[in-house]
Symmetry: C2
Subunit: 366 residues, 2 copies
Amino acid sequence: MIQKKQEARRIAVPPRKVATIREVAAKAGVSTATASRALNDDPKVLSSTAQRVRKAAARLGYSANHAARSLKTRATRTIGVIAPDLATDFFMLLADRIEGELAARGYGLLLCSSRESLAEEKRLLGFFAERLVDGVIAIPATASGSHFKAAAARGMPLVLADRSPRGAGTDAVLVDNEGGACAATRALAGLGHRRIGLVGGDPRLSTARERHAGYLRALAELGLPREEAFERYGNMHIDSGYRMLGQMLSLPGAPGAFFVVNADTHIGCTNWLMTAGRSADSPAAEGVSTGRAMAVAPAATVGRVELAAFDEMPYSPLLCFCRFAVEQPVAMMGQEAVRLILERIAGDGGDRPRILRLPTRLVSHG
Amino acid sequence: MIQKKQEARRIAVPPRKVATIREVAAKAGVSTATASRALNDDPKVLSSTAQRVRKAAARLGYSANHAARSLKTRATRTIGVIAPDLATDFFMLLADRIEGELAARGYGLLLCSSRESLAEEKRLLGFFAERLVDGVIAIPATASGSHFKAAAARGMPLVLADRSPRGAGTDAVLVDNEGGACAATRALAGLGHRRIGLVGGDPRLSTARERHAGYLRALAELGLPREEAFERYGNMHIDSGYRMLGQMLSLPGAPGAFFVVNADTHIGCTNWLMTAGRSADSPAAEGVSTGRAMAVAPAATVGRVELAAFDEMPYSPLLCFCRFAVEQPVAMMGQEAVRLILERIAGDGGDRPRILRLPTRLVSHG
DNA sequence: CTGAAAGCGCTTACAG
DNA sequence: CTGAAAGCGCTTACAG
């Protein structure tokens, strides 16, 4: 990632001629000070004067030079947003809500991907500092959070979303991952399953860890056995779901139900079931409706596997093995993240980190 | 969308103290001019001087004030990006690629959603102008493009992606929609279908129109009948696919195959087939393997419908009725859009609009 | 209610 | 190779 700063100067800037406040002031017959006040709705200016200024501005097609204003006010009306990956549906649903909330308040959103890299994430905080963003909303990429704490200590308003890394100590908008996972696992048990596996995520990430904990809690509460051979951890991407479920279902006596940690892993699982799993001479059969383990079934009945997954997506009901999905309150997460960051920026955030835990909802599919 | 400009002043700005170039210069024992040159890798400064300056900057944790630099250079190293909707997978795949290309060059991305509104889109061009972005990459929301032409005429470097609205006359990165749709429709015919319907998009949008044209071309070339009752136009969202396919399959003698205009419509179609379509007392049956229309079949065999859709998504292979998908070269689109905009910014764009048409690829599923 | 003036933090001809 | 000085376009005490 080489930054060629000097290019900024080498570039031939097109003429793009725009009116300045001086021209507006001249046309309206006032000083730039008054013009500025009028344009910023300062109540102290005579409304007739303000009218004149506004008319002049309109005629000239004036719009304030944002860089100049920011230089003076030290506010950019811009929020930096970091996501580990822009192509992941859940992150983008969240980004969409954040953008909506911000746009409604005249804020812009500088969106960057950390590419799931801690180094990139740190670099981005510097990038944002340089650009004087008013605040940052970040979905952390890893389990490390001390750089967030450091940035906040340096005075950068900061709100984390979705994940809670170690040592961050900043505001955060999270969901009840444990409760959601527990409910999903219980729902599978409600179908008659007494053996339920886990297609999990990276346990260093709070989401994966908490969902795992919820899964385990459900097993414990229901008196179901924990079988570590059927608990796997992946990177929460499609390939990882494909691989993990495939490995487990190739084992003798695999369970007939799995809790799946997120949407992409879910896609991967479904993918395996619809391709390799279809033709697999897999010993993974278990009587689903009776909940009674059957002897190794040579002709695969892998198709009878049932899944409950975190994340309710538009396509979730279409994934053939999906029985339950845990819906996250994405809209509310976006709303709250924006509320928290704006409060921080305004200095109304208090001096303690505020951690929100929003509820999830279990959705039942066919 | 009320913008409260005065808030920019009311906000209590946190102390966030950062070093200025004056302090760096002082510490290095040079003028701010020399410090600036050193920090910008001006080859004219003595390398020993440059070293001293860089060391001082590092010690002070200096990073240039971006607003001040922009005010002077009139370049912001920021590209404005407009998408009709941030939650649509295809747009975000594209945004992800654009972000990657831009980040590698030290550019930031100001991302905004036009919410599929022309008015919003126009407003955003003004928003970007005010913020002095170096250029704009836009996925147009509607069929109207004259505001893009106007912005370009005012000197704003501008590249459109995916869609080509009327009267834009700017650079654009498009794909061969017609060819892709034609290939997909032919592939359905290759399965034995002699009657193929269309689950289409808004014909005012170039993508929907071109895909429609490709579908019609395939029919014509193959000598298949055009049946307007089985050509429908929607808004390219999930609900629209659900509704249109449902309506068509409820008609007597509906075809057994459909070309579907995009991913979301495809999800909607699949959704209908898996829910309403399953229980429907639909007269839509047609012998798929023989290609011979059957008499009205009361017990629905709607499940035998086969689809070919534009957009290959991670979940496309999992959509049960999907036989073919048209893959768009998203990575290349992002790359080319960034190349074009940077060339425009550098003044190397030439004086004629450059329209790129990238090839698609047909993917066969199960 | 309005204006003259200072200044935000850079970059860049210009002069040496 | 380096520095003094101007200036980018705003906003905002301060004075009136």
